[in-house]
Amino acid sequence: MSDAAAQKQKRPALGQFGTVLWDVASRPSGAIGLALVLGHIILALISPWLVSYDFRSMDSSLILEGPSAEHWLGSDHLGRDILSRVLQGGRVALLVTGIATPIALLWGGVTGVLLGLIGGRADEVAMRIVDAFLSIPGVLPLLVLVTIFGTGNEVMIPTLAFFYGIPVIRVIRAATHDVVARDFVLAARARGHSRLSIVWRELLPNVRDAMMVEGAMRWSWMLLAFSSLSFLGFGVSPPTPDWGLMISDARAYMPLAPWGVLAPVIALSSLIIGINLTADALAKAMGIDRARKAVV
Protein backbone atom coordinates (compact mmCIF):
# COMPACT_ATOMS: atom_id res chain seq x y z
CA MET A 1 0.00 0.00 0.00
CA SER A 2 2.67 2.43 1.02
CA ASP A 3 4.61 1.18 -1.94
CA ALA A 4 1.81 2.31 -4.18
CA ALA A 5 1.61 5.58 -2.31
CA ALA A 6 5.31 6.14 -2.83
CA GLN A 7 4.86 5.34 -6.48
CA LYS A 8 2.08 7.89 -6.66
CA GLN A 9 4.24 10.59 -5.15
CA LYS A 10 7.03 9.94 -7.60
CA ARG A 11 4.79 10.77 -10.51
CA PRO A 12 4.81 14.28 -11.89
CA ALA A 13 2.08 16.49 -10.54
CA LEU A 14 -0.56 15.89 -13.17
CA GLY A 15 -3.65 16.76 -11.21
CA GLN A 16 -6.38 14.23 -10.65
CA PHE A 17 -7.43 14.04 -14.27
CA GLY A 18 -3.86 13.57 -15.37
CA THR A 19 -3.38 10.78 -12.87
CA VAL A 20 -6.34 8.91 -14.29
CA LEU A 21 -5.15 9.43 -17.84
CA TRP A 22 -1.68 8.25 -16.86
CA ASP A 23 -3.20 5.14 -15.33
CA VAL A 24 -5.24 4.46 -18.48
CA ALA A 25 -2.23 4.92 -20.74
CA SER A 26 -0.07 2.65 -18.60
CA ARG A 27 -2.40 -0.31 -19.13
CA PRO A 28 -1.79 -2.13 -22.41
CA SER A 29 -5.45 -2.11 -23.40
CA GLY A 30 -5.76 1.55 -22.48
CA ALA A 31 -2.68 2.49 -24.47
CA ILE A 32 -3.92 0.68 -27.59
CA GLY A 33 -7.39 2.13 -27.15
CA LEU A 34 -6.18 5.69 -26.69
CA ALA A 35 -3.85 5.36 -29.68
CA LEU A 36 -6.71 4.13 -31.89
CA VAL A 37 -9.10 6.86 -30.80
CA LEU A 38 -6.54 9.65 -31.06
CA GLY A 39 -5.38 8.28 -34.43
CA HIS A 40 -8.92 8.40 -35.77
CA ILE A 41 -9.53 11.89 -34.49
CA ILE A 42 -6.28 13.18 -35.95
CA LEU A 43 -6.95 11.48 -39.31
CA ALA A 44 -10.42 12.98 -39.40
CA LEU A 45 -9.02 16.42 -38.70
CA ILE A 46 -6.27 16.34 -41.28
CA SER A 47 -7.87 14.14 -43.94
CA PRO A 48 -8.85 17.07 -46.24
CA TRP A 49 -5.12 17.63 -46.76
CA LEU A 50 -4.31 13.94 -47.01
CA VAL A 51 -6.65 12.66 -49.67
CA SER A 52 -5.32 12.92 -53.15
CA TYR A 53 -8.59 12.16 -54.93
CA ASP A 54 -11.99 13.72 -54.65
CA PHE A 55 -14.21 11.21 -52.89
CA ARG A 56 -16.98 12.04 -55.39
CA SER A 57 -15.03 11.68 -58.59
CA MET A 58 -15.93 8.54 -60.47
CA ASP A 59 -13.74 6.90 -63.01
CA SER A 60 -15.38 4.23 -65.15
CA SER A 61 -11.99 2.71 -65.98
CA LEU A 62 -11.41 1.97 -62.32
CA ILE A 63 -14.62 0.12 -61.39
CA LEU A 64 -13.89 -2.44 -58.67
CA GLU A 65 -10.15 -2.29 -59.20
CA GLY A 66 -7.96 -3.88 -56.58
CA PRO A 67 -5.35 -2.01 -54.54
CA SER A 68 -2.63 -0.43 -56.64
CA ALA A 69 0.13 2.15 -56.30
CA GLU A 70 -2.20 5.00 -57.22
CA HIS A 71 -5.23 3.76 -55.33
CA TRP A 72 -3.83 2.11 -52.22
CA LEU A 73 -7.11 0.55 -51.17
CA GLY A 74 -8.56 0.06 -54.64
CA SER A 75 -11.74 1.59 -55.94
CA ASP A 76 -15.44 0.89 -55.58
CA HIS A 77 -18.28 -0.03 -57.94
CA LEU A 78 -18.47 3.52 -59.26
CA GLY A 79 -14.73 3.75 -59.66
CA ARG A 80 -14.17 6.04 -56.67
CA ASP A 81 -10.98 5.92 -54.64
CA ILE A 82 -11.67 3.88 -51.51
CA LEU A 83 -8.88 5.36 -49.38
CA SER A 84 -10.21 8.87 -49.92
CA ARG A 85 -13.71 7.74 -49.12
CA VAL A 86 -12.67 5.87 -45.98
CA LEU A 87 -10.73 8.86 -44.72
CA GLN A 88 -13.62 11.17 -45.53
CA GLY A 89 -16.18 8.73 -44.14
CA GLY A 90 -15.11 9.11 -40.54
CA ARG A 91 -15.56 12.86 -40.52
CA VAL A 92 -19.33 13.06 -40.50
CA ALA A 93 -19.73 10.25 -37.98
CA LEU A 94 -17.15 11.79 -35.64
CA LEU A 95 -18.66 15.23 -36.01
CA VAL A 96 -22.24 14.17 -35.31
CA THR A 97 -21.44 11.80 -32.45
CA GLY A 98 -18.78 14.14 -31.12
CA ILE A 99 -21.41 16.82 -30.61
CA ALA A 100 -24.28 14.55 -29.62
CA THR A 101 -22.34 12.61 -26.96
CA PRO A 102 -21.56 15.61 -24.72
CA ILE A 103 -25.14 16.82 -25.07
CA ALA A 104 -26.47 13.37 -24.15
CA LEU A 105 -24.13 13.22 -21.17
CA LEU A 106 -25.08 16.68 -20.07
CA TRP A 107 -28.82 16.32 -20.14
CA GLY A 108 -28.78 12.70 -18.96
CA GLY A 109 -26.25 13.53 -16.27
CA VAL A 110 -28.04 16.60 -14.97
CA THR A 111 -31.39 14.80 -14.93
CA GLY A 112 -29.84 11.77 -13.28
CA VAL A 113 -28.19 13.84 -10.55
CA LEU A 114 -31.40 15.78 -9.95
CA LEU A 115 -33.53 12.66 -9.72
CA GLY A 116 -30.97 11.04 -7.44
CA LEU A 117 -31.11 14.07 -5.17
CA ILE A 118 -34.84 14.66 -5.18
CA GLY A 119 -35.80 11.04 -4.68
CA GLY A 120 -39.28 10.23 -3.53
CA ARG A 121 -42.29 10.20 -5.78
CA ALA A 122 -40.97 12.43 -8.56
CA ASP A 123 -38.01 10.12 -8.88
CA GLU A 124 -40.19 7.01 -9.01
CA VAL A 125 -42.39 8.45 -11.72
CA ALA A 126 -39.44 9.68 -13.76
CA MET A 127 -37.73 6.31 -13.52
CA ARG A 128 -40.83 4.54 -14.82
CA ILE A 129 -40.76 6.86 -17.82
CA VAL A 130 -37.06 6.16 -18.30
CA ASP A 131 -37.79 2.42 -18.11
CA ALA A 132 -40.52 2.84 -20.67
CA PHE A 133 -38.17 4.61 -23.06
CA LEU A 134 -35.51 1.97 -22.56
CA SER A 135 -37.97 -0.77 -23.44
CA ILE A 136 -38.62 0.69 -26.88
CA PRO A 137 -36.02 -0.75 -29.26
CA GLY A 138 -33.29 1.84 -29.69
CA VAL A 139 -33.16 2.25 -33.47
CA LEU A 140 -36.91 2.52 -33.91
CA PRO A 141 -37.47 6.14 -32.88
CA LEU A 142 -34.27 7.10 -34.71
CA LEU A 143 -35.48 5.47 -37.91
CA VAL A 144 -38.92 7.04 -37.68
CA LEU A 145 -37.61 10.54 -37.03
CA VAL A 146 -34.98 10.29 -39.71
CA THR A 147 -37.49 9.06 -42.30
CA ILE A 148 -39.83 11.89 -41.56
CA PHE A 149 -37.49 14.78 -40.90
CA GLY A 150 -34.51 13.82 -43.03
CA THR A 151 -30.91 13.02 -42.17
CA GLY A 152 -29.42 16.45 -41.73
CA ASN A 153 -27.16 17.06 -38.77
CA GLU A 154 -29.87 19.28 -37.30
CA VAL A 155 -32.05 16.15 -37.01
CA MET A 156 -29.41 13.56 -36.20
CA ILE A 157 -27.67 15.43 -33.39
CA PRO A 158 -30.70 16.25 -31.23
CA THR A 159 -32.28 12.84 -31.87
CA LEU A 160 -29.15 10.92 -30.95
CA ALA A 161 -28.50 13.20 -27.99
CA PHE A 162 -32.02 12.75 -26.67
CA PHE A 163 -32.31 8.98 -26.95
CA TYR A 164 -28.76 8.24 -25.82
CA GLY A 165 -29.16 10.53 -22.84
CA ILE A 166 -31.88 8.34 -21.37
CA PRO A 167 -29.70 5.42 -20.27
CA VAL A 168 -27.26 7.98 -18.86
CA ILE A 169 -30.02 9.16 -16.51
CA ARG A 170 -30.27 5.70 -15.09
CA VAL A 171 -26.58 5.18 -14.51
CA ILE A 172 -25.90 8.63 -13.09
CA ARG A 173 -28.94 8.46 -10.86
CA ALA A 174 -27.63 5.23 -9.37
CA ALA A 175 -24.16 6.73 -8.92
CA THR A 176 -25.74 9.76 -7.25
CA HIS A 177 -27.65 7.54 -4.88
CA ASP A 178 -24.43 5.82 -3.86
CA VAL A 179 -22.66 9.10 -3.21
CA VAL A 180 -25.55 10.79 -1.44
CA ALA A 181 -25.68 7.96 1.08
CA ARG A 182 -22.13 8.66 2.18
CA ASP A 183 -21.23 10.60 5.29
CA PHE A 184 -19.30 13.36 3.59
CA VAL A 185 -22.49 14.55 1.93
CA LEU A 186 -24.23 14.37 5.30
CA ALA A 187 -21.34 16.32 6.81
CA ALA A 188 -21.68 19.03 4.19
CA ARG A 189 -25.40 19.22 4.81
CA ALA A 190 -24.83 19.44 8.54
CA ARG A 191 -22.45 22.35 8.02
CA GLY A 192 -25.24 24.08 6.15
CA HIS A 193 -23.82 24.33 2.65
CA SER A 194 -26.36 25.23 0.02
CA ARG A 195 -27.70 22.42 -2.10
CA LEU A 196 -25.99 23.77 -5.15
CA SER A 197 -22.65 23.85 -3.39
CA ILE A 198 -23.10 20.29 -2.15
CA VAL A 199 -23.90 19.11 -5.64
CA TRP A 200 -21.01 21.01 -7.13
CA ARG A 201 -18.31 20.29 -4.57
CA GLU A 202 -19.23 16.99 -2.99
CA LEU A 203 -21.34 15.14 -5.49
CA LEU A 204 -20.04 15.94 -8.96
CA PRO A 205 -16.38 15.12 -8.33
CA ASN A 206 -17.53 11.65 -7.26
CA VAL A 207 -20.03 11.11 -10.07
CA ARG A 208 -17.52 12.32 -12.63
CA ASP A 209 -15.84 8.91 -12.90
CA ALA A 210 -19.06 7.15 -13.75
CA MET A 211 -19.81 9.98 -16.17
CA MET A 212 -16.52 9.60 -18.05
CA VAL A 213 -16.93 5.86 -18.49
CA GLU A 214 -20.54 6.33 -19.44
CA GLY A 215 -19.54 8.97 -21.97
CA ALA A 216 -17.09 6.67 -23.69
CA MET A 217 -19.68 3.91 -23.86
CA ARG A 218 -22.43 6.15 -25.18
CA TRP A 219 -20.07 7.50 -27.77
CA SER A 220 -19.27 4.08 -29.14
CA TRP A 221 -22.93 3.07 -29.17
CA MET A 222 -23.88 6.24 -30.94
CA LEU A 223 -21.27 5.61 -33.60
CA LEU A 224 -22.70 2.16 -33.97
CA ALA A 225 -26.22 3.50 -34.36
CA PHE A 226 -25.08 6.17 -36.78
CA SER A 227 -23.34 3.73 -39.06
CA SER A 228 -26.18 1.21 -38.73
CA LEU A 229 -28.57 3.86 -39.96
CA SER A 230 -26.53 4.54 -43.05
CA PHE A 231 -26.02 0.84 -43.53
CA LEU A 232 -29.79 0.37 -43.55
CA GLY A 233 -30.09 3.22 -46.02
CA PHE A 234 -31.59 5.71 -43.61
CA GLY A 235 -28.45 7.67 -42.89
CA VAL A 236 -26.38 10.22 -44.78
CA SER A 237 -27.41 10.68 -48.38
CA PRO A 238 -25.29 8.89 -51.01
CA PRO A 239 -22.64 11.22 -52.40
CA THR A 240 -21.29 11.75 -48.88
CA PRO A 241 -19.19 8.76 -47.88
CA ASP A 242 -19.98 6.99 -44.65
CA TRP A 243 -18.52 3.73 -43.41
CA GLY A 244 -21.92 2.08 -42.89
CA LEU A 245 -23.07 3.14 -46.32
CA MET A 246 -19.80 2.01 -47.94
CA ILE A 247 -20.13 -1.41 -46.36
CA SER A 248 -23.72 -1.67 -47.51
CA ASP A 249 -22.82 -0.63 -51.07
CA ALA A 250 -19.79 -2.86 -51.34
CA ARG A 251 -21.58 -5.91 -49.95
CA ALA A 252 -23.18 -6.59 -53.31
CA TYR A 253 -19.74 -6.86 -54.91
CA MET A 254 -18.16 -8.77 -52.09
CA PRO A 255 -17.24 -11.90 -54.09
CA LEU A 256 -15.53 -9.73 -56.71
CA ALA A 257 -13.98 -7.00 -54.61
CA PRO A 258 -13.71 -7.87 -50.93
CA TRP A 259 -11.34 -4.91 -50.31
CA GLY A 260 -14.27 -2.56 -50.76
CA VAL A 261 -15.88 -4.05 -47.67
CA LEU A 262 -12.73 -4.62 -45.64
CA ALA A 263 -11.47 -1.04 -45.63
CA PRO A 264 -14.54 0.58 -44.04
CA VAL A 265 -15.04 -2.49 -41.81
CA ILE A 266 -11.56 -2.08 -40.41
CA ALA A 267 -11.93 1.67 -40.03
CA LEU A 268 -15.23 1.44 -38.16
CA SER A 269 -14.22 -1.52 -36.00
CA SER A 270 -10.90 -0.05 -35.01
CA LEU A 271 -12.53 3.17 -33.83
CA ILE A 272 -15.23 1.40 -31.85
CA ILE A 273 -12.80 -1.09 -30.37
CA GLY A 274 -10.48 1.78 -29.51
CA ILE A 275 -13.22 3.60 -27.65
CA ASN A 276 -14.21 0.45 -25.80
CA LEU A 277 -10.67 -0.46 -24.82
CA THR A 278 -10.24 3.07 -23.51
CA ALA A 279 -13.53 2.89 -21.63
CA ASP A 280 -12.50 -0.45 -20.11
CA ALA A 281 -9.14 0.87 -19.00
CA LEU A 282 -10.79 4.02 -17.71
CA ALA A 283 -13.26 1.98 -15.70
CA LYS A 284 -10.45 -0.14 -14.27
CA ALA A 285 -8.37 2.92 -13.45
CA MET A 286 -11.29 4.37 -11.57
CA GLY A 287 -12.44 1.16 -9.97
CA ILE A 288 -15.77 0.85 -11.74
CA ASP A 289 -16.88 -2.56 -12.89
CA ARG A 290 -18.05 -1.96 -16.42
CA ALA A 291 -19.02 -5.54 -17.17
CA ARG A 292 -21.67 -5.22 -14.50
CA LYS A 293 -23.33 -2.41 -16.36
CA ALA A 294 -24.45 -4.94 -18.94
CA VAL A 295 -26.43 -3.94 -21.96
CA VAL A 296 -28.78 -1.21 -20.74
Partner: protein, 319 residues
Protein backbone atom coordinates in the same frame (compact mmCIF):
# COMPACT_ATOMS: atom_id res chain seq x y z
CA UNK B 1 -42.11 -11.85 -0.62
CA UNK B 2 -45.57 -11.90 -2.17
CA UNK B 3 -45.72 -8.16 -1.69
CA UNK B 4 -42.44 -7.76 -3.50
CA UNK B 5 -43.63 -9.86 -6.42
CA UNK B 6 -46.91 -7.97 -6.58
CA UNK B 7 -45.09 -4.68 -6.42
CA UNK B 8 -42.80 -5.72 -9.23
CA UNK B 9 -45.74 -6.90 -11.31
CA UNK B 10 -47.56 -3.64 -10.81
CA UNK B 11 -44.47 -1.68 -11.83
CA UNK B 12 -44.24 -3.78 -14.99
CA UNK B 13 -47.84 -3.04 -15.89
CA UNK B 14 -47.30 0.66 -15.22
CA UNK B 15 -44.22 0.65 -17.44
CA UNK B 16 -46.07 -1.01 -20.32
CA UNK B 17 -48.83 1.55 -19.94
CA UNK B 18 -46.34 4.43 -20.05
CA UNK B 19 -44.74 2.85 -23.13
CA UNK B 20 -48.10 2.74 -24.86
CA UNK B 21 -48.68 6.40 -24.08
CA UNK B 22 -45.22 7.35 -25.33
CA UNK B 23 -45.63 5.38 -28.53
CA UNK B 24 -49.08 6.69 -29.22
CA UNK B 25 -48.22 10.27 -28.38
CA UNK B 26 -44.98 10.04 -30.33
CA UNK B 27 -46.76 8.94 -33.47
CA UNK B 28 -49.47 11.57 -32.91
CA UNK B 29 -46.83 14.27 -32.70
CA UNK B 30 -45.42 13.39 -36.11
CA UNK B 31 -46.71 15.35 -39.04
CA UNK B 32 -49.17 13.47 -41.23
CA UNK B 33 -51.28 10.45 -40.39
CA UNK B 34 -52.29 7.17 -41.96
CA UNK B 35 -54.46 8.92 -44.50
CA UNK B 36 -51.89 11.38 -45.74
CA UNK B 37 -49.45 8.53 -46.04
CA UNK B 38 -51.94 6.33 -47.85
CA UNK B 39 -53.33 8.99 -50.17
CA UNK B 40 -50.07 10.62 -51.19
CA UNK B 41 -48.57 13.43 -49.21
CA UNK B 42 -50.57 16.33 -50.49
CA UNK B 43 -54.04 14.78 -50.50
CA UNK B 44 -56.58 17.37 -49.57
CA UNK B 45 -60.26 18.04 -49.20
CA UNK B 46 -63.06 15.53 -49.35
CA UNK B 47 -60.99 12.48 -50.09
CA UNK B 48 -58.86 13.03 -47.03
CA UNK B 49 -61.84 13.74 -44.84
CA UNK B 50 -63.61 10.60 -45.97
CA UNK B 51 -60.55 8.53 -45.36
CA UNK B 52 -60.11 10.04 -41.90
CA UNK B 53 -63.72 9.34 -41.11
CA UNK B 54 -63.45 5.76 -42.31
CA UNK B 55 -60.41 5.11 -40.20
CA UNK B 56 -61.83 6.98 -37.22
CA UNK B 57 -59.05 9.54 -37.33
CA UNK B 58 -61.45 12.41 -36.82
CA UNK B 59 -62.18 11.34 -33.28
CA UNK B 60 -60.29 13.05 -30.41
CA UNK B 61 -56.84 11.64 -29.63
CA UNK B 62 -57.82 10.33 -26.22
CA UNK B 63 -60.69 8.29 -27.65
CA UNK B 64 -58.44 6.90 -30.33
CA UNK B 65 -55.78 6.05 -27.74
CA UNK B 66 -58.32 4.17 -25.66
CA UNK B 67 -59.63 2.28 -28.71
CA UNK B 68 -56.13 1.45 -29.80
CA UNK B 69 -55.01 0.38 -26.32
CA UNK B 70 -58.13 -1.71 -25.78
CA UNK B 71 -57.48 -3.43 -29.10
CA UNK B 72 -53.82 -3.95 -28.35
CA UNK B 73 -54.63 -5.66 -25.07
CA UNK B 74 -56.73 -8.18 -27.02
CA UNK B 75 -53.97 -8.60 -29.59
CA UNK B 76 -55.80 -6.57 -32.21
CA UNK B 77 -53.67 -3.74 -33.50
CA UNK B 78 -56.07 -2.55 -36.15
CA UNK B 79 -55.26 -2.52 -39.82
CA UNK B 80 -52.20 -1.38 -41.69
CA UNK B 81 -51.97 2.02 -43.31
CA UNK B 82 -52.80 0.77 -46.77
CA UNK B 83 -56.03 -0.43 -45.23
CA UNK B 84 -55.69 -3.88 -46.69
CA UNK B 85 -54.39 -6.15 -43.97
CA UNK B 86 -55.02 -6.77 -40.32
CA UNK B 87 -51.78 -6.00 -38.54
CA UNK B 88 -52.15 -8.95 -36.24
CA UNK B 89 -52.17 -11.47 -39.09
CA UNK B 90 -49.40 -9.65 -40.91
CA UNK B 91 -47.11 -9.55 -37.92
CA UNK B 92 -47.95 -12.94 -36.45
CA UNK B 93 -45.55 -15.02 -38.58
CA UNK B 94 -42.82 -12.45 -38.25
CA UNK B 95 -43.06 -12.58 -34.48
CA UNK B 96 -42.80 -16.34 -34.63
CA UNK B 97 -39.71 -16.12 -36.83
CA UNK B 98 -38.03 -13.63 -34.56
CA UNK B 99 -38.74 -15.81 -31.54
CA UNK B 100 -37.30 -18.75 -33.44
CA UNK B 101 -34.11 -16.87 -34.15
CA UNK B 102 -33.88 -15.68 -30.57
CA UNK B 103 -34.59 -19.14 -29.20
CA UNK B 104 -31.82 -20.60 -31.36
CA UNK B 105 -29.33 -18.01 -30.22
CA UNK B 106 -30.37 -18.38 -26.58
CA UNK B 107 -30.30 -22.16 -26.48
CA UNK B 108 -26.68 -22.19 -27.59
CA UNK B 109 -25.57 -18.83 -26.29
CA UNK B 110 -26.65 -18.72 -22.67
CA UNK B 111 -25.10 -22.01 -21.52
CA UNK B 112 -21.95 -21.31 -23.50
CA UNK B 113 -21.69 -17.76 -22.18
CA UNK B 114 -22.10 -18.88 -18.58
CA UNK B 115 -19.54 -21.63 -19.08
CA UNK B 116 -17.04 -19.19 -20.58
CA UNK B 117 -17.76 -16.63 -17.89
CA UNK B 118 -17.10 -19.17 -15.17
CA UNK B 119 -13.94 -20.41 -16.86
CA UNK B 120 -12.51 -16.94 -17.43
CA UNK B 121 -13.48 -15.92 -13.90
CA UNK B 122 -11.84 -18.93 -12.28
CA UNK B 123 -8.70 -18.70 -14.39
CA UNK B 124 -8.49 -14.98 -14.16
CA UNK B 125 -5.52 -13.42 -15.94
CA UNK B 126 -4.42 -16.74 -17.35
CA UNK B 127 -4.08 -17.13 -21.12
CA UNK B 128 -7.55 -18.61 -21.49
CA UNK B 129 -9.07 -15.58 -19.76
CA UNK B 130 -7.04 -13.11 -21.78
CA UNK B 131 -8.02 -14.90 -24.99
CA UNK B 132 -11.75 -14.96 -24.32
CA UNK B 133 -11.94 -11.58 -22.65
CA UNK B 134 -10.22 -9.90 -25.56
CA UNK B 135 -12.42 -11.85 -27.95
CA UNK B 136 -15.45 -10.66 -26.01
CA UNK B 137 -14.48 -7.03 -26.43
CA UNK B 138 -14.23 -7.56 -30.16
CA UNK B 139 -17.50 -9.47 -30.35
CA UNK B 140 -19.28 -6.81 -28.32
CA UNK B 141 -18.00 -3.79 -30.09
CA UNK B 142 -17.83 -4.73 -33.73
CA UNK B 143 -21.14 -3.67 -35.29
CA UNK B 144 -23.39 -6.56 -36.17
CA UNK B 145 -23.55 -5.62 -39.80
CA UNK B 146 -19.77 -5.72 -39.91
CA UNK B 147 -19.47 -9.14 -38.34
CA UNK B 148 -22.36 -10.39 -40.43
CA UNK B 149 -20.71 -9.11 -43.57
CA UNK B 150 -17.39 -10.68 -42.68
CA UNK B 151 -19.03 -14.01 -41.84
CA UNK B 152 -20.93 -14.03 -45.11
CA UNK B 153 -17.72 -13.23 -46.93
CA UNK B 154 -15.93 -16.14 -45.30
CA UNK B 155 -18.53 -18.87 -44.93
CA UNK B 156 -20.98 -18.18 -47.69
CA UNK B 157 -18.80 -16.71 -50.39
CA UNK B 158 -15.29 -18.06 -49.92
CA UNK B 159 -16.12 -21.40 -48.37
CA UNK B 160 -19.64 -21.75 -49.72
CA UNK B 161 -20.80 -23.77 -46.70
CA UNK B 162 -24.09 -21.99 -46.07
CA UNK B 163 -26.43 -19.83 -48.07
CA UNK B 164 -25.74 -16.14 -47.65
CA UNK B 165 -29.28 -14.94 -47.26
CA UNK B 166 -32.67 -16.34 -46.36
CA UNK B 167 -34.97 -16.75 -49.29
CA UNK B 168 -37.67 -18.80 -47.62
CA UNK B 169 -41.01 -16.97 -47.26
CA UNK B 170 -42.06 -15.73 -43.84
CA UNK B 171 -44.78 -18.32 -43.30
CA UNK B 172 -42.69 -21.35 -44.18
CA UNK B 173 -42.37 -24.09 -41.54
CA UNK B 174 -39.64 -23.57 -39.00
CA UNK B 175 -37.40 -26.36 -40.22
CA UNK B 176 -37.05 -24.80 -43.63
CA UNK B 177 -35.17 -21.93 -42.13
CA UNK B 178 -32.62 -24.03 -40.46
CA UNK B 179 -29.66 -23.87 -42.82
CA UNK B 180 -30.39 -20.26 -43.57
CA UNK B 181 -30.47 -18.87 -40.12
CA UNK B 182 -27.29 -20.43 -38.89
CA UNK B 183 -25.15 -17.46 -39.79
CA UNK B 184 -27.69 -15.01 -38.41
CA UNK B 185 -27.76 -16.94 -35.13
CA UNK B 186 -24.00 -17.03 -35.01
CA UNK B 187 -23.78 -13.25 -35.28
CA UNK B 188 -26.37 -12.72 -32.58
CA UNK B 189 -24.94 -15.40 -30.34
CA UNK B 190 -21.48 -13.89 -30.47
CA UNK B 191 -22.63 -10.53 -29.21
CA UNK B 192 -24.84 -12.08 -26.60
CA UNK B 193 -22.15 -14.43 -25.36
CA UNK B 194 -19.75 -11.53 -24.98
CA UNK B 195 -22.10 -9.53 -22.78
CA UNK B 196 -23.18 -12.40 -20.56
CA UNK B 197 -19.67 -13.80 -20.32
CA UNK B 198 -18.16 -10.55 -19.14
CA UNK B 199 -20.80 -10.10 -16.50
CA UNK B 200 -20.56 -13.68 -15.24
CA UNK B 201 -16.78 -13.40 -15.18
CA UNK B 202 -16.75 -10.36 -12.98
CA UNK B 203 -19.33 -11.78 -10.66
CA UNK B 204 -17.46 -15.09 -10.38
CA UNK B 205 -14.29 -13.18 -9.54
CA UNK B 206 -16.13 -11.28 -6.87
CA UNK B 207 -17.63 -14.43 -5.37
CA UNK B 208 -14.30 -16.28 -5.37
CA UNK B 209 -12.70 -13.38 -3.48
CA UNK B 210 -15.48 -13.31 -0.89
CA UNK B 211 -15.14 -14.14 2.78
CA UNK B 212 -17.47 -17.10 2.49
CA UNK B 213 -15.37 -18.76 -0.19
CA UNK B 214 -12.23 -18.24 1.89
CA UNK B 215 -14.09 -19.69 4.84
CA UNK B 216 -15.17 -22.70 2.79
CA UNK B 217 -11.53 -23.26 1.80
CA UNK B 218 -10.53 -23.12 5.43
CA UNK B 219 -13.33 -25.50 6.29
CA UNK B 220 -11.63 -28.03 4.05
CA UNK B 221 -14.22 -28.01 1.27
CA UNK B 222 -12.68 -29.30 -1.96
CA UNK B 223 -12.14 -26.67 -4.66
CA UNK B 224 -14.74 -27.78 -7.17
CA UNK B 225 -17.31 -28.21 -4.51
CA UNK B 226 -16.64 -24.63 -3.38
CA UNK B 227 -17.07 -23.47 -6.93
CA UNK B 228 -20.36 -25.29 -7.47
CA UNK B 229 -21.99 -25.07 -4.08
CA UNK B 230 -20.67 -21.85 -2.59
CA UNK B 231 -19.49 -19.52 -5.31
CA UNK B 232 -21.67 -20.15 -8.37
CA UNK B 233 -25.11 -19.97 -6.77
CA UNK B 234 -24.18 -16.51 -5.58
CA UNK B 235 -22.31 -15.46 -8.69
CA UNK B 236 -24.99 -16.51 -11.14
CA UNK B 237 -27.91 -14.74 -9.50
CA UNK B 238 -27.08 -11.38 -11.08
CA UNK B 239 -26.65 -13.13 -14.43
CA UNK B 240 -30.39 -13.67 -14.63
CA UNK B 241 -30.99 -9.99 -15.23
CA UNK B 242 -28.30 -9.73 -17.86
CA UNK B 243 -29.72 -12.72 -19.69
CA UNK B 244 -33.09 -11.01 -19.60
CA UNK B 245 -31.71 -7.80 -21.05
CA UNK B 246 -30.05 -9.82 -23.79
CA UNK B 247 -33.25 -11.68 -24.57
CA UNK B 248 -35.07 -8.41 -24.89
CA UNK B 249 -32.31 -7.08 -27.11
CA UNK B 250 -32.49 -10.21 -29.28
CA UNK B 251 -36.20 -9.73 -29.83
CA UNK B 252 -36.19 -6.06 -30.56
CA UNK B 253 -32.81 -4.77 -31.48
CA UNK B 254 -31.76 -7.15 -34.19
CA UNK B 255 -33.06 -5.06 -37.05
CA UNK B 256 -29.69 -4.91 -38.71
CA UNK B 257 -29.01 -8.62 -38.62
CA UNK B 258 -32.41 -9.45 -40.03
CA UNK B 259 -31.87 -7.00 -42.85
CA UNK B 260 -28.40 -8.32 -43.64
CA UNK B 261 -29.62 -11.88 -43.86
CA UNK B 262 -32.98 -10.96 -45.33
CA UNK B 263 -34.57 -12.80 -42.43
CA UNK B 264 -38.35 -12.31 -42.25
CA UNK B 265 -38.61 -11.34 -38.60
CA UNK B 266 -39.81 -8.38 -36.58
CA UNK B 267 -36.82 -6.22 -37.40
CA UNK B 268 -37.19 -6.53 -41.15
CA UNK B 269 -40.90 -5.87 -40.87
CA UNK B 270 -40.09 -2.76 -38.88
CA UNK B 271 -37.75 -1.44 -41.55
CA UNK B 272 -40.30 -2.17 -44.27
CA UNK B 273 -43.04 -0.46 -42.30
CA UNK B 274 -40.89 2.60 -41.72
CA UNK B 275 -39.91 2.78 -45.37
CA UNK B 276 -43.61 2.61 -46.27
CA UNK B 277 -44.45 5.09 -43.50
CA UNK B 278 -46.91 2.55 -42.23
CA UNK B 279 -47.20 4.08 -38.77
CA UNK B 280 -49.92 1.78 -37.37
CA UNK B 281 -47.64 -1.17 -38.04
CA UNK B 282 -44.69 0.65 -36.49
CA UNK B 283 -46.81 1.39 -33.44
CA UNK B 284 -47.86 -2.22 -33.14
CA UNK B 285 -44.33 -3.53 -33.52
CA UNK B 286 -42.95 -1.06 -31.00
CA UNK B 287 -45.62 -2.09 -28.57
CA UNK B 288 -44.95 -5.79 -29.03
CA UNK B 289 -41.23 -5.38 -28.58
CA UNK B 290 -41.56 -3.07 -25.59
CA UNK B 291 -44.05 -5.34 -23.88
CA UNK B 292 -41.75 -8.30 -24.44
CA UNK B 293 -38.84 -6.34 -23.01
CA UNK B 294 -40.78 -5.41 -19.91
CA UNK B 295 -42.17 -8.93 -19.62
CA UNK B 296 -38.80 -10.63 -19.86
CA UNK B 297 -37.27 -8.27 -17.34
CA UNK B 298 -40.21 -8.81 -15.08
CA UNK B 299 -39.70 -12.56 -15.22
CA UNK B 300 -36.01 -12.08 -14.48
CA UNK B 301 -36.71 -9.88 -11.48
CA UNK B 302 -39.24 -12.34 -10.16
CA UNK B 303 -36.82 -15.23 -10.64
CA UNK B 304 -34.18 -13.28 -8.77
CA UNK B 305 -36.58 -12.61 -5.95
CA UNK B 306 -37.51 -16.30 -5.83
CA UNK B 307 -33.94 -17.59 -6.04
CA UNK B 308 -32.14 -15.11 -3.82
CA UNK B 309 -32.72 -16.06 -0.21
CA UNK B 310 -31.95 -12.55 0.93
CA UNK B 311 -34.80 -11.15 -1.12
CA UNK B 312 -37.05 -14.14 -0.65
CA UNK B 313 -37.07 -14.10 3.10
CA UNK B 314 -36.54 -10.50 3.92
CA UNK B 315 -39.19 -7.90 4.17
CA UNK B 316 -38.86 -5.44 1.39
CA UNK B 317 -36.28 -2.82 2.07
CA UNK B 318 -36.88 0.65 0.83
CA UNK B 319 -34.38 1.56 -1.80
Amino acid sequence: MLRMLLRRLLLGVVTVWIVSVIIFAGVEALPGDACTAFLERDAKGKLLENCRHDLGLDKPAVTRYLDWAAGAVRGDFGISADGQQSIASMVGDRVKNSFLLAAGALAVGVPLAILLGVITGLWRDRWIDILFSTGAIFAMTIPEFVSATVLILIFAIWLGWVPAIVLTPADAPALDFFPEFILASVVLTMVMIAHIMRMVRSSVIEAMASDYVQMAMLKGVPYWRIVFRHALPNALLPAINVVALTVAWLLGGVVVVEVVFNYPGLGRTMIDAISDRDLPVVQALAMIVAATYVGVNLIADMLTILLNPRLRTQRMRRK
